[in-house]
């Protein structure tokens, strides 16, 4: 659910009985990550470096929120708070507090002393993530309302990962086998490198260098890239002399007629992303002018937003992430 239980009469701060009694009277509304961190130090530290922690402060989000502020943005970027100055992104309470109870997959005596607890197996399921990672476009008159703005859960359910019994948490709450609240994803170079397998072959002929590209999902449970429609990956090939070609992996939007024939709405008309594992692969061919090169360099990057926006208004903010790169010899006689 997108709206996490917010104003809940709870206290996460007390570890010792005396402290618990004190807090019971002091504040019944302190759901801050700071309070959580007093007992859950490791989790709080991991979370503080995550994209979840920066969901509100992230410069890309803040830039867009400034131009089009809406309640629906806050639902997923600052769901636990109501005053803008206090927003802390997707914090502990967003996932762990419902109806005055701390949700957990297991309980403990210390935990029970500190706050009401409830075992909730749903914490380990994709449904717990779906509220903010699977939802449709708003009804703005332009977009089709049945069109997914973020479609990650549907992609996951179609993937081998889902059939193999994995969940979102399997990859995004895993750190060397230990449960982690670092939520590795787009900013984790190792995870990005594991996400897809890239095969590239180059050959020359007819004055051209032909580059065949095959990309398949590997250690990933959804399309690549997933999430926001403005995320896109780009594979580029370059010769030492500077010949350059690239193609984009993204959802392509366009107007199409509604089924009733009465109006046009924006929807996905093509999807050139790497499909989820088990549902296919991406093949593309690029052609360069043969400039006599012996080899081509290739690079796969993931862009969180269009590079044009980055260049104009978000200089200094990391919006592009390297996924993989390499050099391939060009087959065939010169």
């Amino acid at each position: 659910m997108r709206r996490a239980g917010a104003a809940l009469g709870l206290l996460l701060a007390a570890c010792e009985p005396a402290a618990a009694a004190q807090v019971e009277h002091a504040t019944a509304i302190d759901l801050s990550h700071v309070s959580c961190g007093e007992c859950h130090e490791r989790e709080a530290r991991e979370w503080s470096g995550s994209l979840h922690a920066r969901a509100w402060d992230d410069p890309i989000f803040q830039r867009e929120y400034a131009s089009t502020p809406s309640e629906s943005c806050r639902d997923c970027h600052a769901p636990s708070t109501s005053a803008p100055g206090r927003a802390t992104g997707i914090d502990c309470a967003t996932c762990h507090v419902r109806d005055g109870h701390v949700l957990a997959t297991r309980t403990s005596e210390a935990g029970e002393r500190a706050h009401p607890m409830r075992i909730d197996a749903a914490l380990q399921t994709p449904d717990h993530c779906a509220g903010c990672h699977q939802f449709a476009f708003m009804d703005d008159g332009s977009h089709a309302v049945d069109e997914a703005l973020q479609n990650t859960l549907v992609e996951f359910l179609a993937s081998d990962a889902s059939r193999d019994g994995a969940t979102c948490q399997t990859c995004h709450m895993r750190d060397e086998g230990v449960v982690s609240h670092r939520f590795p994803g787009v900013e984790d170079p190792e995870q990005l490198a594991r996400a897809v397998d890239v095969e590239i072959a180059a050959r020359r002929g007819g004055g051209r260098i032909t580059v065949d590209v095959r990309i398949e999902g590997a250690d990933i449970g959804h399309a690549f890239p997933t999430g926001d429609v403005f995320r896109r990956a780009e594979l580029s090939v370059t010769t030492p002399a500077g010949a350059h070609e690239a193609f984009s992996m993204q959802r392509w939007l366009g107007d199409t007629i509604d089924a009733d024939g009465a109006s046009l709405h924006v929807r996905t008309i093509d999807d050139s992303r790497v499909p989820p594992p088990g549902t296919g692969e991406l093949r593309e061919t690029l052609e360069l002018v043969d400039d006599g090169a012996d080899a081509i360099a290739w690079e796969l990057r993931l862009h969180r937003i269009p590079t044009t926006v980055d260049a104009r208004t978000l200089a200094g903010v990391t919006t592009s992430h390297l996924v993989a790169r390499g050099v391939v010899a060009i087959a065939g006689p010169r």
Binding site: D140, S142, G254, D255, T256, S263, I269, D270, S272
Partner: protein, 448 residues
């Protein structure tokens, strides 16, 4: 055919001068003596938003007693900003319609001075002042209207929604108190007032014309025929039906269809077709739509006699106007269609946004007689091209068109539906008009 001058016919022969967004210098008696400063809240001590704190309300300004001399002085001051129009009330109404409330104040003031007994011009002046946020103008206008019109006008002003924000003002109750009629209190314009420089403005009027939409069953027939023609189901944005003296029925439809849909209709393999059509019609951006206006002269069989492409960016948002009339006075009817488009490349985050508005006249045979397009582009909500233009028919006994133009600095949402800077608080350049004369020889108007 000649058309009589209408009450709504507008603009004039006057000179415009560049205006400042700063408030005009107030009449001496209207200067508030003192306004209490707003309380300063330290940044480090932001209040809890859940706590309702008492609000510090500044003391109302002392308006003192305003008499005929002060009102007269304000009227003269406003009236002198532009050359005097013989049809000042009509000009003012036209400016009001365009959202140019501060400009309309000038001509309501001229009208008020021209007829010192009439309550309507000063009442309208007060309303223009309310729209422009000029409290002094509202105050003096209401006071003058009540003095001229008596109890009936006082009652009207007291309940007028235009003055809702001013009813609590310290002066309002006094201004609507009925005193002895003071007909003739306004003085004649000062003889030594210099004429403002600049070319004269030209009077304009509403777009006008006759309208009748096409019945749904007939539209369905036309849609089917258009679908065959363009290979995609068209969306009908507007329609017009007319019957000439011989009983011939002409049907006009403004339609739009997806280029991607049309491309896909030619594909045999859905998956490969998507890729091919995407590359063909999208490029690096989003697929555009095509728009047109078709003339259908028969329904059985359907005969599309003409089909002109119109252009309102990649996405048509609205047909603002579609009507038929003898706009050029040649004895034959023409169709006038005004469309507006907005295209944000599918990016709800609005990086670059294209806006366009097209005014198109078509002859009875469906060919384009005249087209005027105004395109705007905005980045992050800020309009990049700061010159706005409108086309209107001239309001005198001619069949010319008039191009109104004005420069501005604005956000996109500060422009009205015609992409015209309607907010008086904007930084506005001078308003100008240019006559686009009708040439009977070529059956068109001079290009802007």
């Amino acid at each position: 055919m000649l058309r009589p001058l209408r009450a709504l016919a507008v603009l004039l022969a006057i000179a415009c001068t560049p205006r400042s967004r700063e408030p005009e210098e107030a009449a001496p008696v209207a200067v508030p003596e003192e306004v209490a400063p707003a309380p300063v809240v330290p940044v480090s001590a932001q209040p809890d938003p859940t706590i309702v704190a008492p609000v510090a309300v500044p003391s109302p300004p002392e308006w003192g007693v305003v008499g005929p001399a002060e009102i007269d002085e304000l009227l003269h001051e406003l009236a002198a900003k532009m050359a005097t129009s013989p049809d000042a009330a009509e000009v003012a109404a036209g400016l009001h319609e365009l959202g140019l409330h501060r400009d309309s104040e000038t001509f309501y003031a001229q009208a008020a001075l021209a007829d010192a007994a009439a309550w309507q011009p000063v009442y309208d002046l007060a309303r223009a002042g309310a729209k422009a946020g000029d409290e002094t103008v509202v105050h003096f206008g209401v006071r003058a209207a009540v003095r001229r019109g008596g109890a009936r006008i006082a009652k009207r002003a007291s309940g007028d929604p235009y003055f809702r924000d001013y009813r609590a003002a310290a002066w309002f109750d006094d201004a609507v108190r009925v005193e002895a009629p003071a007909v003739g209190e306004a003085a004649a314009p000062s003889e030594d007032t210099p004429a403002p420089p600049g070319p004269p403005l030209v009077a304009v009027r509403k777009l006008g014309g006759r309208t009748q939409t096409i019945a749904k069953p007939e539209l369905a027939t036309i849609v089917a025929a258009l679908k065959e023609r363009v290979l995609a189901t068209p969306v009908i944005h507007g329609s017009l039906q007319s019957t000439d003296a011989a009983g011939n029925v002409a049907r006009w439809v403004v339609y739009e269809f997806s280029e991607f849909d049309a491309c896909m209709a030619t594909q045999t393999d859905a998956k490969a077709g998507k890729r091919e059509c995407r590359k063909k019609v999208i490029g690096d951006g989003r697929a555009c739509n095509q728009q047109g206006i078709a003339l259908v002269t028969s329904l059985d069989p359907v005969t599309i006699a003409a089909d002109e492409r119109i252009a309102a960016t990649c996405r048509l948002r609205k047909v603002e106007h579609i009507a038929i009339d003898d706009y050029d006075g040649d004895g034959n009817d023409e169709v006038l269609v005004v469309v507006r488009g907005r295209f944000d490349n599918g990016d709800s985050r609005r990086e670059w946004v294209d806006y366009a508005r097209e005014v198109r006249f078509l002859r009875g045979d469906g060919t384009t007689q005249f087209v005027f397009r105004k395109e705007q582009q905005a980045f992050d909500g800020r309009v990049q091209d700061t010159a706005s233009k409108l086309v209107r028919p001239r309001s005198v006994e001619s069949h010319d068109l008039v191009l109104l133009a004005r420069t501005f600095e604005a956000e996109l949402d500060e422009l009205d539906a015609e992409l015209w800077p309607a907010d008086d608080e904007l930084e506005l350049g001078p308003l100008t008009t240019e006559v686009l004369a009708y040439d009977a020889g070529t059956d068109t108007w001079a290009a802007p």
